[in-house]
């Protein structure tokens, strides 16, 4: 190991102090032997050596102080710059060993600091990744088409997507530090009850269908799932509540049930009459001829009713699905309606109702002849049905102004009329007005079908004017002549599928 200057001086000083001690001992011994004799040289030597020693001591201290000052400066600089560097001291400096030890320590420190810095950077990256993941999760939750609410173990909503905000009527600020409990925010007892069940230790997700009145006052139906989230399967950490809106599905299911129910009723009722009368004819062989004939007539009428209903429902279905074939042609009104008037006579005569026909000459309409006949027949049947015994039904078609391209056919009855609030409903499927204290027969499809045939398939209009207690006037408006693009339409038409009425 290299010896520094201070060590050499130190050794030299030790030697000098040894010489001084020797001279002092020698001087004292000589004085003891001969008190008169004290060699002057020895005192001089002691003095000289002491002086040299003192000078060397001072020099050595000065050098040490300077080296320490240099170290102090360097360490202060490192401290100021928050850096771990090296203390630069020359090898022959008095604090070289100290500097060497310090540098060794600093090197270790710097290595550890570098490692810590690396770990810090990794942690920063991980925090960024977690933040990004959290934001992504929130974005996913917020974009879900169901209402989603996440609550902490205290029952405080901590994340609510837009649909849940709209449903529950509150929002949570993204930087919220203090949350409020669901009890304070939500005024829906069913929701609070489910949250409480989850908090009170439900092990499995709770699933329940609930009805809620939303802030707009609408009654809505939700399939609700409440999942308790547990840390390592024990302590409750969060509650996730998902509400799937099934209002529309339930409404559709109800409409479907109602429709099936109507159809069932309309099929089973005439079938019941047919079965009952046939059974009676079979079982009662002694029945008289007039009664037998009447029973056959009833069976035949009920079979017609069944057929009409089936035709109507299938035709309506065809029109609504856009599959009804239409073959419009120019038809002579009087010719087309002869058959219809013949068909309505039996039911009119049964009620002693007079059917008056007042058609202007040479009237033409541009329509599908079968569908047109069905519209007029449905309107006449409706008029006969709601007109009391002995009443009157008028089928009218006034002359047309030559410039006008609209033909108007009117069915007037002296029946019960239709109240204002029912006027919009009469064209709905299965609507049937009350006739006095009872409901008139029929399927409730005739007017709905007539409206769709006139307006959806022919681009015409079907109006209703009515006065309760006096009667109703239905007016059909159809084009007289073919529209400009009718040629193309005619070429596109298909062979009629169902739509038989007779």
């Amino acid at each position: 190991m290299k010896m520094i200057l201070e060590e050499r001086i130190h050794r030299l000083l030790l030697a000098l102090y040894g010489v001084v001690a020797f001279l002092a001992v020698w001087g004292l011994w000589s004085r003891a032997a001969d008190p008169e004799r004290l060699p002057a040289g020895s005192w001089a030597a002691i003095g000289a050596v002491s002086a040299i020693g003192a000078i060397l001591e001072v020099l050595m201290r000065m050098r040490t102080r300077k080296a320490l000052k240099l170290m102090e400066t360097q360490i202060k600089k490192m401290s100021d710059e928050s850096q771990v560097g090296m203390v630069m001291v020359e090898d022959d400096q008095p604090v070289a060993n100290l500097a060497s030890i310090l540098n060794h320590y600093l090197t270790t420190l710097r290595t550890e600091l570098d490692e810590l810095s690396l770990q810090h950077r990794e942690l920063d990256l991980q925090i960024l990744a977690v933040d990004a993941e959290k934001q992504n999760t929130e974005a996913v939750i917020k974009s879900i088409s169901d209402a989603v609410m996440v609550l902490n173990a205290f029952g405080e909503p901590i994340l609510v997507n837009r649909l849940a905000e709209e449903l529950f009527g509150f929002t949570i600020e993204s930087d919220a530090k203090v949350y409020r409990t669901a009890d304070e925010l939500i005024a829906m007892p069913q929701i609070l009850e489910l949250i409480e069940q989850a908090r009170m230790g439900a092990a499995q997700p709770i699933r329940k269908e609930i009805r809620i009145v939303d802030p707009s006052g609408a009654d809505r139906c939700f399939k609700t799932t409440v999942c308790p989230v547990r840390v390592r399967g024990e302590a409750l950490w969060a509650i996730v509540m998902i509400l799937h809106d099934v209002t529309q599905e339930r409404e559709l299911a109800e409409m479907k049930n109602e429709f099936v129910n109507h159809v069932s009723h309309e099929l089973r009722t005439p079938l019941c009459s047919i079965k009952a009368y046939v059974q009676d004819l079979i079982e009662d062989e002694h029945k008289g001829a007039p009664e037998r004939t009447e029973f056959y007539r009833i069976i035949s009428n009920e079979a017609d009713r069944l057929q009409r209903f089936i035709d109507n429902i299938l035709n309506l279905s065809c029109i609504e699905s856009g599959l009804m074939p239409v073959c419009p042609v120019a038809i002579n009104l009087a010719d087309a309606l002869t058959e219809v008037i013949r068909l309505i006579q039996p039911s009119a005569q049964e009620k002693n109702i007079c059917v008056e026909v007042d058609l202007a000459e040479n009237l033409e309409v541009w329509a599908d002849i079968d569908l047109f006949r069905q519209v007029v027949l449905n309107l006449l049947s409706n008029a006969v049905k709601y007109t009391p015994n002995g009443g009157k039904v008028i089928l009218q078609a006034p002359p047309i102004n030559e410039e006008e391209n609209i033909c108007r056919i009117t069915v007037i009855d002296t029946g019960i009329g239709i109240a204002d609030h029912d006027r919009e409903l009469v064209f709905d499927k299965f609507y049937r007005a009350k006739s006095g204290s009872t409901m008139a027969g029929g399927s409730g499809l005739g007017l709905a079908l007539a409206k769709k045939i006139v307006e959806n398939l022919h681009g015409g209009k079907l109006h209703l004017e009515s006065c309760p207690g006096k009667g109703s006037i239905f007016t059909i408006e159809l084009p007289r002549r073919a529209p400009v693009d009718a040629g193309q339409k005619e070429a596109d038409t298909l062979v009629p599928a169902i739509r038989t009425e007779q």
């Binding site: 049930n257 099936v260 129910n261 159809v263 069932s264 009723h265 089973r268 009722t269 079938l271 019941c272 009459s273 047919i274 079965k275 009952a276 009368y277 059974q279 009676d280 079982e283 009833i298 009920e302 009350k434 204290s437 009872t438 409901m439 027969g441």
Partner: protein, 131 residues
């Protein structure tokens, strides 16, 4: 000693069904009262005693269930058995018929003979025989 002729009230808004059911019951020896809707049936019940009610479910003014519930709520009519005729697409739930004395459901279409047998069985159970 002659037993009085049992009286059956038949309510249905379908005239043909009402007619054939009434005819069948009359021929079997029952006295028949008919009504075209629930309200008329209720009025008939106020005016005369009946042993059995055969009522359609879907009727204007008052349906068959409402009629049966009203009867059940009236101490005088609560014990009269009711046969409900229905053309619905599904069976009625038990809770729909709560607080009624509906003892049988007959789905349309039915044969009048089966309905007559059902009526006889129910009346036999309550010790009433046709004259």
């Amino acid at each position: 000693m002659n037993t009085p002729t049992p009286v059956i009230l038949v309510a249905d808004d379908e005239a043909h069904i009402l007619r054939i059911v009434s005819l069948k019951l009359s021929r079997a020896g029952f006295s028949v009262v008919s009504a075209y809707d629930g309200r008329t049936a209720w009025d008939q019940l106020q005016n005369q005693f009946v042993d059995l009610v055969i009522s359609d479910y879907q009727m204007p003014e008052m349906n068959g269930i409402e009629l049966a519930q009203r009867m059940y709520a009236d101490e005088r009519l609560a014990r009269i058995p009711v046969i409900l005729l229905t053309a619905k697409s599904f069976n009625l739930a038990r809770e729909d018929m709560a607080d009624t004395n509906i003892v049988a459901l007959v789905s349309k279409p039915f044969g009048p003979t089966e309905l007559l047998e059902a009526a006889k069985n129910i009346l036999r159970a309550v010790n009433v025989e046709a004259g």
